[in-house]
């Protein structure tokens, strides 16, 4: 699995970057939309949750925008990675049908596209946070690690869902619904303390917990996550990658016949 990704790294990188670059091709502002989109999103959530709903949570020590976006932006990249991965084989059917390109290249490419989007949006968040008086720290330099592991988990899940989706297109319809559920089952918008009794502890077993909580600890609390958190991250990512390659391996023989 890995050697083929290394061999095709040039393609993966080029097309992922081209996708980010050309996503808004034809629009007057072009690439600028890559910055405007997350910026607007940050603005909307801030306005909605601080002004209209008058969201108050004494547990949240920082500006709510910073608290929200610190976890929401990685979540969005993760969700984007999964939905892109789910459609990767169908989107690239034209290549898969005629060229001996390893299947996982296309899922890797969509994961990388999401990762680039995450980097762009997080840079904007950093600027916004600094403007709001949240000053940088060396802990931020560690942020790419949980982010990369999160996207890698998305790659594994995308590999499995993309393969299944090629055979059963219903998967593609189901994924957005599941992602919506996923968004609300984890305290991204609200705080963990708002969850009723057993759930505030059970949330630790949510696969997203080590990544998103780790990112918040680094970004907001300026604290390096405990070793067990890192272990959990590697564990979930490894499990997702193994599951993804297992599904692909089992169904690979017929994959190109059905797309």
């Amino acid at each position: 699995m890995l050697p083929s990704l290394v061999k095709h790294r040039s393609y993966i990188w080029r097309t992922a970057w081209a996708e980010v670059r050309d996503r808004y091709a034809g629009a007057g502002l072009g690439f600028v939309w890559n910055i405007l989109q997350p910026l607007c999103l940050i603005l909307i959530f801030t306005v909605v949750f601080t002004s209209i709903l008058r969201h108050s949570a004494p547990e949240i020590k920082v500006h709510y925008t910073v608290y929200l976006c610190a976890a929401m932006l990685p979540w969005q990249a993760f969700a984007d990675c999964i939905s892109r991965g789910t459609g990767a084989f169908i989107q690239n059917a034209i290549y898969l049908r005629k060229l001996p390109i390893p299947e996982q290249v296309f899922v890797a490419q969509s994961a990388l596209t999401s990762a680039i989007g995450l980097v762009i949006s997080y840079v904007i968040l950093v600027i916004v946070a600094v403007c709001l008086g949240h000053y940088p720290s060396w802990h931020w330099l560690l942020l790419p690690v949980p982010m990369a592991l999160l996207i890698a988990m998305g790659f594994g899940i995308g590999l499995a869902l993309g393969t299944l989706n090629a055979f059963i297109r219903d998967v593609g319809q189901l994924v957005p619904v599941l992602l919506q559920i996923g968004f609300w089952t984890y305290p991204i918008v609200y705080h963990r303390k708002h969850l009723p009794e057993p759930f505030d502890h059970l949330v630790q077993f949510n696969p997203l917990f080590p990544y998103l909580d780790g990112i918040r600890q680094l970004f907001i609390d300026r604290h390096v996550p405990d070793p067990w958190m890192w272990l959990a991250m590697f564990g979930w990512t490894g499990a997702a990658a193994i599951a993804g390659s297992f599904v692909l391996r089992r169904l690979r023989d017929e994959l190109r016949d059905v797309i």
Binding site: R14, A25, L96, K98, D170, R252
Partner: protein, 501 residues
Amino acid sequence: MSCGGEGCVGPIIPALGADAIGGPRTRMTPAVLATTQAVPTRQPTEVQTGPSARAGDAPVVVRAEGLGKRFRIYGTPLDRAWEWFGRRQRAGKPLHTDFWAVRDVSFEVRRGECLGIIGPNGSGKSTLLKMIAGAMRPTEGRFEVDGMVLSLLELGAGLNPMLTGRANIVSAATLLGFPASFARDKIEEIESFAELGEFFDRPVNMYSSGMRVRLAFSMFACFRPEVFIVDEALSVGDVFFQQKCAARIRELMASGMTMIFVSHDQGAVLSLCTRAIVMNHGRPIFQGGPDEAVSRYLASLSGNKWGPRLAPPPPAAAASPADDALAQTIIKHDITAARRAQRHGTGELAIVAARVLDPRGRDSMAVQVGEKLTIQVLLEARDQIEAPRAGIRVFDRFNSMIFAAGTFQLGHQLPPMKPGDRVVVVFTLTMDVQPDRYTFGLGAGEPVAGDINAGIAHDRVDRLGPIHVEISPTTVRPFYGAARLPLSAVHHACQPSGVHA
């Protein structure tokens, strides 16, 4: 029962010996090949039979053994999911049906050879190619390639329309796993070969289809794969570029590149390939020299399920038991049962079977312009028929009837028939028509009282064929237009002008 005079045996020539028939599905060994003959009218090409001296000791680059591809066809996509969880049946029926698109394909291609794969639509060519190209995994069998395979399958479809020609080359190279620097090294060569001018730096969505082909072919030819798969898409470009491609392909083969060529274009197969496989219904029905492969392919098009069978020697003199033997051979080689055939009529006079023979006496409908097809029609009366008639109709590619006539128009009278009587009518049809594909229909009927040009069709079978009419490029065309009309010319010498004054 008598049959129509001289036409009974007619131009059936005992052409090839029985030893050349071969099992329709068995592979031809080179030894058998050497004893078979090519179609006599075809021009000999440089390399006539495959495993010739030229490539005989070159290393094997592609080796396939018993290659097969099975598709599973499911009623609904969810049936497949059921199977993942171990369920095998639903409502007593299996969840899927198997369809073998390709089976039992074995071949070897040596360095510098060009293997042609020909066959009608749906014969498994594309599936086979995809397996060779690595874009599809075989269900059974082994397949080995020594080196990189590049294919021009669905040529041009893989180009990104938003990118320029130049950017597409880099994109395609990296897609194939080359570093971007590899593409940059090749770009000048590709640019000069493709001759796209300023379009080379324009987005591909501005290209004509011919330009896309030029770009794709130039690109892949310059990447110099070990094995290069070219399919019919190549016939899209204009004639000059095609010639250039052919020259390039020869040059690449001379430099040791191996080609696999798939085409309906028999001329290309004949001029480029050193060997060919004829596919039909997913199985190789012949493997050998391109000449013979093409003629067998054409014969297989003419309706024989497992490919051409050569005609057994025609029955001896037209004695009465031989008539029955003739009827039996017609039934054996019947073409009216073809899947596409359309049939209607009242049935009092039935067309039991029909057989078509080419001038060489084979069950083939491939002829040269001006050659004669022999059409034997076995009729059986189911009622008392006083004046039976039989006829033939020929249609062109656009389903326009270009000719129809029969015993009545020929002034040939068939004997009255009582129920159970059989008669064989033998038509000899000179294919004085343009080189193209034609279909034909057969009819049996009787006249109605009162109108001399009307009749009842008791049985009619249409959409038979196709008849392939060809012309060798070195033959002078005997006429132009849809068909040859009787035309003659004389001339009279006159005084030079001015002498009268």
